[in-house]
Subunit: 245 residues, 2 copies
C-alpha cells in the first residue's frame, strides 16, 4: 500500500491532544476521519510527536497508508477539504517508502514555547501563548537553560506518567530570546520525555522572575527528582515546530 | 471629571464590532461594563476607529471619564480584571486633559491586513487572517497600491452605508510586502472611509493574482464608482494597529 507522509499545522485548543481518547475530540481522530472520507479506507494516522491537550503544531509529521496511489497535491487538498471546519491543515504530502514511520524514523523534534510578558493579558493570542505579567530576564533564563544542554538524566523534568524506557536524553538546543513583549524559547532534541519541555519552561520562568538563580537549574537537574524542578507550565504556548528524518 | 485614554488590544471575532448594537455583544459594551464595575460609574467609552464585526485591534485608542482620579496602572489592571474572560486587553492607560477626544483629536490611523497565501488553509490563524490559496504577486500589488497614494476621491472604495461628509481622503501609506507565506498590507491616513481598507485590499488581491494589471487600480479609482472596484475582503485579516494624536 502506498504510504504518505503529511506535514500538519493545528490549533490544539479544542482537542484532548493528538491521540484518540474517549474523553473528547482528538487531532488523530479528525485526521483519520478525513482520510476515510478522502479514500474510503479505515486506517491509522501515526504521528511523530503526540502533543498533549491544548498544545499546537506548525510542523507535526504523520503518515498513513492509502489503498491506492494519489498525486501528492490531491492528498493535501483532499484531506484539507474533508478536515473542514477543524483548525487542522495539511501543509504538504509526500510519497514515502513503506519502511518510513513518522514516529520511529524521526531523528529530531523541535518545539517553540511563547510567553507574552507584559502587564496586560494576552487578548488576540489568548490560548496560543502563556501570559506572565511579572518582568522576565531573558538573559538569566538563557544562563539557566545552558545547564540543561547535552546528555543528562532528565528525571527532574519528567512527568510521572511518562512511558519512556530511560530518563536519559540529549538536549541539542534550548535558546531563550526576547522579541518585543514576547519571550521565545526554542528547543530541539532527538526526543523528549513526557512534559519535558513544559517542565523546563516552568523552571526557567522561576529564573526569569528572579526566584531562582541560573545555577539552581543545574542543582535541580542533578537532584533527579521531579519535586526539585519548577511547575509544569500551561500547554497554551507550546508548538511542535518540526521533525527531522 | 478626570479623563483617561486607553490603548486596547482585542480579538474582534466574537463581536458585532466596536459599536454597541442590539444584535450582539460589542467591544464598546464590554469596556463600558468593565468601567462600571471598576468605578461604579455609567459612562460612554469612545474610540478612535469604530471597527466592524470580526476586525481586530492591537492599538485601538479610547477614552472615558472617571468619577475620581486613579493611578493609571490601577486603571489598566482594574479594567483588565473586570474584562475577563473577554479577549480584550487594556495595554495602557494615561490621564489626559478633558479636551482630548479619542476620535476627534486623532490625526492618523494605521491598519495592517494579513493574508495567508498558500495552498493549505490557515489552521492556527483561522479568523485572524484571510486565506488566499492562489499565488499572489506582492510586487504587482505594490505597483497597484501606489496609484492610491495621496489625495483622491475614494468613492470607488467606499461602502454605500458610509457616513463621511466627503469621499476625498489623503492616503499616506499603502505598502505590500511578503513575509514567508504571508502578504502584509500596511496602510495609514488621517482617516478612512467605511470599508475603505477592505475594499482596497480586495482590489489589490485581483492585481496579485493577475486578473487586473496594476494600472487598472488607477482606472478604478478614477471611475469614482463602487462597482468599478474589487470586492470587499473579509474582516478576519484586518487589525487597527495604531492611532496618532
Amino acid at each position: 500500500m502506498p504510504r504518505y507522509k503529511l506535514t500538519i499545522e493545528y490549533d490544539g485548543s479544542p482537542y484532548v491532544g493528538w491521540q484518540r481518547q474517549d474523553t473528547g475530540p482528538s487531532v488523530q481522530q479528525a485526521l483519520e476521519e478525513a482520510v476515510f472520507r478522502f479514500c474510503q479506507s479505515e486506517t491509522l494516522v501515526q504521528c511523530a510527536g503526540r502533543t498533549d491537550a491544548g498544545v499546537h503544531a506548525t510542523g507535526q509529521v504523520a503518515h498513513f497508508d492509502a489503498p491506492r496511489e494519489y498525486r501528492t497535491d490531491r492528498v493535501r487538498d483532499g484531506l484539507n477539504f474533508h478536515l473542514r471546519p477543524h483548525p487542522i491543515a495539511v501543509l504538504g504530502a509526500e510519497a514515502v517508502d513503506d519502511d518510513f514511520h513518522a514516529r520511529f524514523s524521526a531523528t529530531g523534534r523541535s518545539y517553540l514555547y511563547r510567553i507574552v510578558n507584559r502587564r496586560a493579558p494576552a487578548a488576540l493570542e489568548a490560548g496560543r501563548v502563556w501570559w506572565v505579567p511579572m518582568a522576565l530576564d531573558a538573559e538569566a533564563m538563557q544562563a539557566g537553560a545552558n545547564h540543561l544542554l547535552g546528555n543528562h538524566d532528565f528525571t527532574t523534568f519528567r512527568a510521572s506518567e511518562c512511558q519512556a524506557k530511560s530518563p536519559v536524553k540529549t538536549l541539542d538546543e534550548l535558546t531563550v530570546r526576547r522579541v518585543g513583549e514576547e519571550i521565545r524559547i526554542a528547543t530541539a532534541a532527538r526526543s523528549f520525555l513526557h512534559h519535558q519541555v513544559r517542565n523546563m519552561v516552568g523552571t526557567l520562568k522561576l529564573v526569569g522572575e528572579g526566584k531562582w538563580m541560573p545555577e539552581d537549574v543545574r542543582r535541580a537537574l542533578e537532584a533527579r527528582n521531579r519535586s526539585a524542578g519548577g511547575p509544569t507550565c500551561p500547554p497554551d504556548g507550546l508548538y511542535l515546530t518540526g521533525v527531522k528524518y
